[in-house]
């Protein structure tokens, strides 16, 4: 079977003229400038702020950030609310494998040239472009005590009518109920990425495998999955980071409750940085930095996982 060159294979060194080099950097320059302005600089400045006291009266008086070393991190370590929030964010990662598996499976299904498939592809994508406020109203109808979920479970005799409860008001269910909304919103996005990956697999490979007598399950594991690994890695990374950064659905559906069971690390960052006038940019930046470090560690795990499972190539 033909294999593409691994990206880390040693390549013969190409020779470029000064003109080519300048031209290349010229093309890169606009993107680099924008990245520096809107990504690298905020990242560096935000990381710096995590080690400073900055916000509140200090900010209003135009005073510069004051370096306080690890003080913000000590405050975070001693704040039960932050620890709960970080714990919830890490727990939220449960969604990643489920979301990836589901969106890949559906992408495989809708990758077929059957009549009406275009409709399904579009339909799965609708939640991605639905505004969160509209989605919140809709899911409120679903999760309400008198909502459609209880009604459906009642009809199926899975819950007796007297035991109906609001799924977002219950400490045991709110977290999973919000996660389902995240799943619903993210599913179409990853499905489209997988679909693009699937459509880039050369048709000859499938045809050759069919001629060799491989059944569809065999073809999926031997052709689709190996060739989709870069896409799976990308989607897995994106959804890991997205799960750690979940904020909107929590804010509009539960505002972190009940009993902080849905309060996530990003909600903590948001509340410290932007709610009220007691904003504390230093502490919020430190909390953001902790989340970023967790995301980085998990990204390394993702890379390792896919690197090793591919015999050293990802």
């Amino acid at each position: 079977m033909a294999r593409s060159q691994p990206f880390n294979a040693r390549q013969p060194r190409a020779r470029y003229s000064l003109r080519d080099t300048l031209l290349s950097y010229g093309f890169l320059a606009p993107a680099l400038i924008l990245l520096t302005l809107f990504t690298f600089y905020p990242l560096a400045y935000g990381s710096y702020l995590g080690f400073t006291e900055y916000g509140g009266a200090r900010f209003a008086q135009g005073l510069a950030p004051k370096w306080i070393g690890l003080e913000n991190f000590r405050t975070l370590a001693a704040d039960p609310l932050f620890l709960t929030a970080l714990g919830n964010s890490v727990k939220y990662l449960v969604i990643v494998p489920v979301l990836q598996l589901a969106s890949l499976s559906v992408a495989v299904l809708v990758n077929k040239n059957l009549p009406g498939m275009a409709f399904f592809r579009a339909a799965y994508y609708i939640p991605v472009v639905t505004s969160i406020s509209l989605a919140a109203v809709m899911w409120d109808w679903v999760y309400n005590k008198e909502g459609t979920l209880n009604w459906a479970l009642g009809v199926l005799h899975l819950i007796p009518e007297g035991s109906f409860f609001g799924w977002l008001n219950n400490e045991q269910t709110a977290f999973w109920a919000v996660m389902l909304v995240t799943f619903w919103r993210g599913f179409g996005y990853y499905m489209v990425l997988y679909l693009a990956g699937l459509q880039s697999i050369p048709a000859e490979l499938e045809e050759a495998a069919v001629l060799d007598g491989a059944n569809s399950w065999k073809r999926f594991w031997s052709i689709t999955v190996p060739l989709m690994k870069p896409t799976i890695l990308l989607c897995s990374l994106l959804s890991t980071i997205a799960a750690l950064r979940v904020l909107e659905e929590v804010l509009v559906l539960t505002n972190g409750g009940p009993l902080n069971s849905t309060y996530t690390a990003l909600m903590y960052v948001y509340s410290k940085a932007f709610q009220g006038f007691n904003f504390d940019y230093g502490l919020a930046s430190a909390a953001g930095l902790v989340v970023a470090v967790v995301a980085l560690l998990l990204s390394v795990v993702n890379f390792r996982l896919f690197h090793e499972s591919d015999g050293g190539e990802a």
Binding site: G56, N144, K145, L259, G276, F277
Partner: protein, 423 residues
């Protein structure tokens, strides 16, 4: 040399002449000030625009640039200060004004408008609401009362066999009866509000203190615990909607009332606007009467204000605009459009609030419109209020969900407040 002198003289004359010509033009260039309101557009665009036009006509040297801010008001305000483009007049409520003033974001307006003028324009209490550390930081604008009026569905009340409650004790005592006999909730109390600790309002309205004489939190006496216990028992019994823990009480109450699932709303006449839109039939039947009050027999309430940021580049002009918008005539004009309560002392004598009518909104307006003197949150927001209110709210929630006893919840919150309150 002579030629040089001539040229220099000519240049000087021309220069002076040009300056003379351009000086009046420069003097007449209007000063542009930026004005931010909060959640008023698009519904009140005509009123705001007309008032701005009237202001500009009376002050031809000032030009007003108006923006209505919504969700992101506070964040935008902070960002604009950081970017050096702070607005000149900002519409904030009492709580946010307190926080902004404590953090040094605002100018004290009694340095821009004589205190005597402020005192003669506004009710003493409405002015006191915007006073932080002995200085006035805001021009009081439109207000609302927490208790305000009682509006009820007469059919549900008849079915339950109850009459309009005269006080909070009566209201709490009829909660079970109404639900048991009609299936509808009697009333939706504000149980949880992370941004404002609204449950503290129930303590205040029953005359219970929030702080002791030294300024420490002191809302955990047996009397406080008894009130919380009463609400916890009713909540656990299913007599208040579960969603009251998650949604704003006013929003939930108006939503359920319009569906005949709540018998009474205690609050401002503004609830009637929504009911009129969503269920005109029920609106027509709705009865409006005086609100049941707590044992202290006082109304509590809140108001908006207009503040001048410390970073404003045109504070004098800003003060003129804020004073204009909040003057009696303009507040009365606003009250004629929407049932707000003016914060100006002269409003109590305005004939507009003395008209009798059977229309629920008109009746409610007549009942509370001239009650600006009652606008009082009941207690001063503590320093570091965001963290403290969040903690209080979490403890109330723990009590309502049975995770803590009411006493433990209040004890824990008082302990947290006293350890974290900035005085």
């Amino acid at each position: 040399m002579k030629q040089f002198r001539k040229t220099a003289l000519l240049a000087l004359t021309l220069g002076l002449g040009l300056t003379a010509v351009s000086a009046p033009a420069a003097a007449q260039a209007p000063t542009e000030i930026t004005f931010w309101t909060w959640y008023l557009s698009p519904k009140f665009d005509p009123y705001i625009k007309q008032t701005i036009a009237a202001f500009e006509k009376a002050n031809p040297t000032i030009k007003v640039k108006w923006f209505d801010k919504q969700d992101s008001m506070v964040q935008d305000f902070i960002a604009s200060v950081n970017l050096g483009s702070a607005p000149d007049v900002v519409n904030l409520n009492i709580d946010e004004t307190g926080k902004a003033a404590q953090n040094g974001f605002l100018r004290n307006v009694d340095a821009l408008t004589p205190l005597a003028t402020l005192k003669s324009t506004f009710y003493p209490q409405t002015l006191a609401n915007f006073t932080v550390g002995g200085k006035v930081y805001g021009y009081p604008w439109y207000g609302s009362l927490n208790e305000g009026v009682l509006l009820y569905n007469p059919e549900l009340m008849t079915k339950a066999g109850v009459k309009a409650p005269k006080n909070m004790t009566e209201l709490l005592n009829m909660v079970k009866t109404v639900k048991d006999k009609t299936g509808a909730y009697a009333w939706v109390p504000a149980l949880k509000d992370p941004g404002g600790a609204s449950f503290l309002g129930y303590f205040s309205s029953d005359g219970l203190p929030i702080y002791d004489a030294k300024g420490n939190a002191a809302f955990n006496s047996p009397a406080h615990v008894a009130i919380l216990q009463k609400y916890v028992d009713l909540f656990k019994g299913g007599y208040f909607p579960e969603d009251a823990l998650r949604k704003e009480a006013f929003q939930l109450a108006t939503e359920l009332y319009a569906q005949n699932r709540v018998a009474m709303i205690v609050g401002g006449p503004q609830a009637l606007n929504r009911i009129k839109d969503t269920n005109p039939g029920l609106y027509a039947k709705t009865v409006v009467t005086t609100a049941p009050l707590g044992k202290a027999n006082t109304q509590t309430g809140t108001s908006m204000g207009m503040v001048i940021p410390q970073a404003s580049k045109h504070p004098a002009e800003a003060a003129k605009l804020a004073a204009f918008f909040t003057n009696n005539a303009n507040q009365i004009a606003f009250a004629k459009i929407v049932p707000i309560i003016p914060t100006t002392a002269a409003a109590q004598n305005d004939p507009f609030f003395k008209v009798s009518s059977n229309d629920p909104i008109a009746k409610a307006t007549a009942l509370v419109g001239a009650s600006g003197r009652f606008i009082n949150p009941g207690f001063k927001a503590p320093g570091n209020s965001d963290d403290l209110y969040k903690n209080f709210s979490d403890n109330i929630e723990a009590a309502l969900l049975g995770k803590k006893t009411p006493k433990a919840a209040l004890d824990d919150s008082v302990k947290f407040w006293n350890a974290n309150m900035k005085k």
